[in-house]
């Protein structure tokens, strides 16, 4: 597998840009997919967001100056696209938090690509209680095991701020799971 710089060079060569872009997709489609899936939960949504993310990446690549790492930039786009979908859905539904949590449960249960048990559903419901930023940090740290350094590069938040957010998220989720564990 080529390094990111080499792939970028290939993309900039006339006539080879599609091959280069496919290579880039091959390299990053899975980590980006899981990052998105952890945020939007449902496979169909993740598929949609992932495709839009790559379309945006493709359109933006010609202007990429390399000021940040390529994967950091791609994660930002994937994060923004996921948050946009979540925000659009929230605005459309205008639902209460209780409705939202019920909705998550129903959507997960009806997703044929979700194979979790009741505890997994409960964990996802607990996540809905969190503000978006805490949810994002929790997903990146707890599920994707990313370092604070990498999360900081993607979110532009100080490592100290991220640690505080993660700490609060863990505390809230633990409390929720403990209090509702009899589902």
């Amino acid at each position: 597998m080529l390094e990111d710089d080499q792939i970028l060079e290939l993309i900039r060569v006339e006539g080879k840009s599609e091959a280069g872009f496919r290579m880039l997709m091959k390299k990053y489609q899975e980590p980006l997919y899981w990052h998105i899936r952890n945020m939007v939960l449902i496979h169909e949504d993740a598929d949609d967001v992932l495709q839009n993310t790559f379309v945006k990446i493709f359109k933006g690549l010609s202007g990429f100056k390399g000021n940040s790492k390529l994967y950091t930039w791609m994660y930002r786009i994937a994060t923004n696209e996921s948050l946009s979908l979540i925000t659009r859905r929230k605005k459309k539904q205008m639902a209460s938090l209780d409705d939202e949590m019920m909705d998550v449960e129903e959507r997960l249960k009806s997703d044929s690509y979700f194979d979790g048990n009741k505890v997994h559903v409960l964990l996802q419901k607990a996540l809905q209680v969190l503000p978006e930023k805490q949810k994002l940090v929790f997903n990146m740290r707890y599920f994707q095991n990313m370092s604070y350094k990498d999360i900081a590069a993607i979110t532009d938040v100080s490592e100290g701020g991220l640690k505080a957010s993660y700490h609060h998220a863990v505390k809230k989720i633990e409390t929720y799971v403990r209090e509702n564990g009899n589902v």
Binding site: Q29, R37, G60, S68, I77, Y142, N145, H168, E174
Partner: protein, 163 residues
């Protein structure tokens, strides 16, 4: 070593610690093995995707890019209408902001905050700041590109509604 650090952070959250690393979804055995993404080898794979999903993704994205190019050409033709609508919106906002006197004075605002600050816990205040819209800078795009992206993203029926 890194896992130890992650678990250490969960020392006061036994339920989360117990669930840490458990696969929330299952993956067909060996499904991802053929694909190399060494930079993210530590990323957990959780979930199930349709068979052949990643193999077909490239073609689907390329097709979407072609469609986007066609949409962009259509959008350029709608520019004059759109700029007219934006100008009308600005005039309306200015009109209402001049004619509706609903602002609190600075002193009143400070007084309100002083009176009510104790009603919120540290966590409530933290949440308040964290509820801000999270959109991260994708840095190098200039404004015209952002406007083009924005227009590309508007559904035709939404655009009609706006106009």
């Amino acid at each position: 070593m890194f896992k130890k650090e992650l678990l250490e952070e969960l020392k006061d959250a036994p339920l989360l610690k117990e669930a840490f690393g458990l696969k929330m979804f299952k993956v067909s055995e060996g499904y991802f093995d053929a694909l190399d993404y060494s930079s993210f080898s530590s990323v957990h794979q959780k979930g199930e995707v349709p068979l052949g999903y990643f193999e077909n993704l490239g073609d689907q994205v390329m097709e979407k890019l072609d469609q986007a190019k066609i949409r962009k050409r259509k959008t350029i033709r709608m520019w004059p209408l759109l700029t007219g609508a934006v100008a009308a919106c600005i005039v309306l906002v200015l009109y209402f902001s001049i004619n509706m006197d609903v602002d609190l004075s600075t002193d009143e605002s400070f007084a309100y905050i002083e009176d009510n600050i104790d009603a919120y816990s540290e966590e409530d205040l933290l949440d308040l700041f964290e509820d801000e819209e999270l959109i991260f800078s994708e840095s190098f795009e200039d404004d015209s590109e952002i406007i083009e992206e924005f227009i590309d993203d508007i559904e035709d029926e939404d655009l009609q509604l706006l106009l």
